[in-house]
């Protein structure tokens, strides 16, 4: 009897394991006829989704023989790439996805994204040439293929809490903008004085955490500092320019111009009214109201002049999609001039024809026309995209660990030398 029960248990166990392996295997056979498309994105904003669904429904109405439905699926994981990766590892591969600019070059190099250049260039009225070259280049390879449309091409700017600065008896920062005195040193002097007088935070970068170190190193371009060479194969952290910049940044933390770094916690929000200066993109203006008087200015100049920076998000077709051609067709429709103008309600567009006050004021209704002109329209055509590297995901944590002493008063030269020792083998490939 016991032997029989043992045999039954063994067969049951084997059956369960076999069923599990079978359930985990294989994909779907290619569909014929109209297909269902899915797009992964990191926004669950109802207005964003309503607009996307509106565009999707219009496309299905026109191309019902190719696409029967388009579903927009927000990835709810706070780390979008982690959530997207988990979803894909589980066999649920979306046809299209939003891609952050930090992941762009790596995804292009690894063949994760589908080349849509032929589809875009052949689409009626698409006007690929209308897309700013500086905005599109990060999503292209050397052959000119296009792997993504940077639907959000948003410059970093300086938000100023005028009430706090005035309460500290400091000069009007907006009046300095455009003059030779509008420099990082001037701004941090005012930040330090404001912190000393009011106790409020001086200058912060809301998206900075030690893990997200690139939001600090990106500002080093104003010192002539680049984290790596243009071809991404040699380390620039130990350059004199980067050492000078990080030493300056550390000094600002020491004197209170920039708040001390406390673990992995995000800095205080500018909207709280307790921050004098904040370096952020256009989207931050959506959280602000009339509680305090604020201004939106271009970034100041550093020792090596004025170097504007943009951050991007692109929409791409995934190479693993089973409906690449249909997805590419929708991508061309979603990002054509007419729909790009609709998307510009929320996201600064990469199209030159849409860089005007009328279009951009929809994305930032709280900014004045002068602010839009000075901090966005004049900036975007000459701005560089935040430094990217096709191997970034392989070394970002090594940089994080090695740079940590910089935030807490450690030896900058030693820290940057360690960064290069750690990442050079990866950069060199």
């Amino acid at each position: 009897m016991r032997a029989l029960r043992t045999k039954v248990a063994v067969f049951a166990l084997t059956g369960v394991i076999a069923a599990s392996l079978t359930a985990c295997s294989g994909g779907n056979a290619a569909q014929s006829g109209p297909v269902d498309l899915t797009m992964a994105l990191w926004s669950s904003n109802e207005a964003h989704l309503a607009l996307l669904n509106q565009i999707g429904d219009a496309y299905v109405a026109e191309h019902g023989d190719e696409v029967s439905s388009i579903t927009f699926e927000p990835v709810t994981n706070p780390d979008y790439i982690a959530g997207l990766t988990t979803q894909i590892a589980g066999g649920d591969v979306p046809d299209l996805a939003w891609i952050p600019e930090a992941s762009g070059p790596e995804f292009v190099k690894e063949g994760i994204l589908y080349d849509v250049s032929t589809v875009l260039e052949s689409a009626d009225g698409y006007e690929v040439d209308d897309i700013l070259p500086a905005a599109l280049t990060p999503w292209q390879d050397d052959d000119g293929s296009i792997f993504g449309y940077p639907f959000s091409n948003s410059p970093f700017a300086l938000y100023v809490n005028n009430d706090l600065v005035a309460a500290a008896g400091q000069p009007d920062v907006a009046a300095l903008s455009g003059t030779p005195d509008y420099t990082w040193q001037t701004v941090t002097d005012i930040a330090a004085a404001t912190n000393a007088a009011t106790g409020a935070a001086g200058l912060n970068i809301p998206t900075f955490t030690p893990t997200n170190w690139s939001t600090v190193t990106m500002l080093g371009t104003a010192w002539g500092a680049e984290p790596w060479s243009e071809d991404g194969t040699s380390c620039g952290f130990d350059s004199p320019e980067m050492v000078d910049y990080l030493t300056w940044y550390q000094d600002q933390i020491t004197r209170g111009a920039i708040p001390a770094v406390a673990g992995n916690a995000a800095p205080a929000a500018f909207a709280s009214g307790d921050v004098a200066f904040s370096i952020a993109q256009l989207s931050q203006s959506g959280s602000l109201d009339d509680t305090f008087d604020w201004t939106f200015l271009p970034l100041p100049s550093g020792p090596e002049g004025y170097h504007p920076i943009v951050g991007q998000a692109a929409v791409s077709v995934l190479e693993r999609s089973e409906n690449k051609d249909q997805a590419a067709g929708f991508l061309a429709y979603l990002t054509n001039p007419d729909n790009a103008a609709l998307l510009a309600q929320f996201f600064p567009p990469p199209r030159e024809s849409l860089l005007n006050v009328e279009t951009l004021s929809q994305a930032a209704p709280k900014l004045s026309p002068e602010e839009i002109q000075a901090a966005i329209i004049d900036v975007v055509p000459v701005a560089d995209v935040k430094a990217q590297n096709p191997a970034l995901s392989q070394f970002t944590d090594k940089v994080r660990a090695a740079l940590d002493p910089v935030w807490s008063g450690g030896d900058v030269v030693e820290a940057t030398t360690t960064v290069c020792e750690q990442i050079s083998p990866i950069l060199e490939g």
Binding site: R5, V8, A9, A12, L13, V16, I17, S20, C24, D79, I81, A82, L84, T85, T86, I88, A89, F107, E110, G111, I112, T209, P210, T211, P259, A260, V261, A262, G263, N264, A265, E319, R320, S393, Q394, T396, D397, K398, R400, A401, A402, D404, P405, W407, S408
Partner: protein, 281 residues
Amino acid sequence: MAFVAPQLLGVIILGLVPFLFVIWYSLNEWRPLTGEMEFIGLANYEQLSSDPTFYASVAASLLFGVAILVFNLGIALSLAVLLNQRLRGITTFRTIFFSPVVVSVVAWSVTWGFLLAPNGGINGFLKLVGINGPNWLGDPSTALISVVAVQVFKGVGMNMVLFLAALQSVPEEMLEAAQLDGASRWRSFRSITVPMIAPTILLTSILTTIGSLEVFAPVQLLTGGGPGDSTNVLPFLLFRTAFVSQQFGYASAIGVVLFAIILGLTLLQWFTRRRWVHDEV
């Protein structure tokens, strides 16, 4: 067999099968976004053996584990002894000390993040008494112990309850007899109470060791593995390797090694128990 079948089925489907898959993935180079999976045998383990970050992570995990074990059990037993009294309102104190156990780990960690900030509650209190507190989470010398403290205060209530139950099972006659024979309270505790509750100490030791080596959320929320690699414990390294570096095979190898470490320490405690746990049936 029929009684345990549902539970067994759950353990197999949700535990054993995924574990076997992790071992398989650790023998492959797997990048989900490209769909590439290539069998590479033990190459991931060979890479681990020469990875200085991995060794730093093991060291951080072991330090973390020992610190949590010592402080958690020590504080839990002390609290249990203090609360093992028939006093009016004692239940209120027991509830207070147990309540962190049922609080969401994310809410707990975020709140402690505010308290441990350079201008947070703890430094504010220290300032009142004339002490300039450190940057608890930003200083390599205090970051790990800060996360240990957060984790200990979160979980000490559970072990306190277990010790309380064990203390209440110690026969009072034995303690009275010892008192009559002239034994001090400390001697009674050391020679009667501790041996009597040794099985519970063993249980809490094993469970706390396992839990301490699996801590992830406080590290993710408070320190991000830093400063440097001081809090870069194995579960956090595993997560970053998989979801940031996109190396699922290598991350699976880290998972297998973590499992082996936890299993090894558990077996070590189990097979050495006879030297100090004498109350087994």
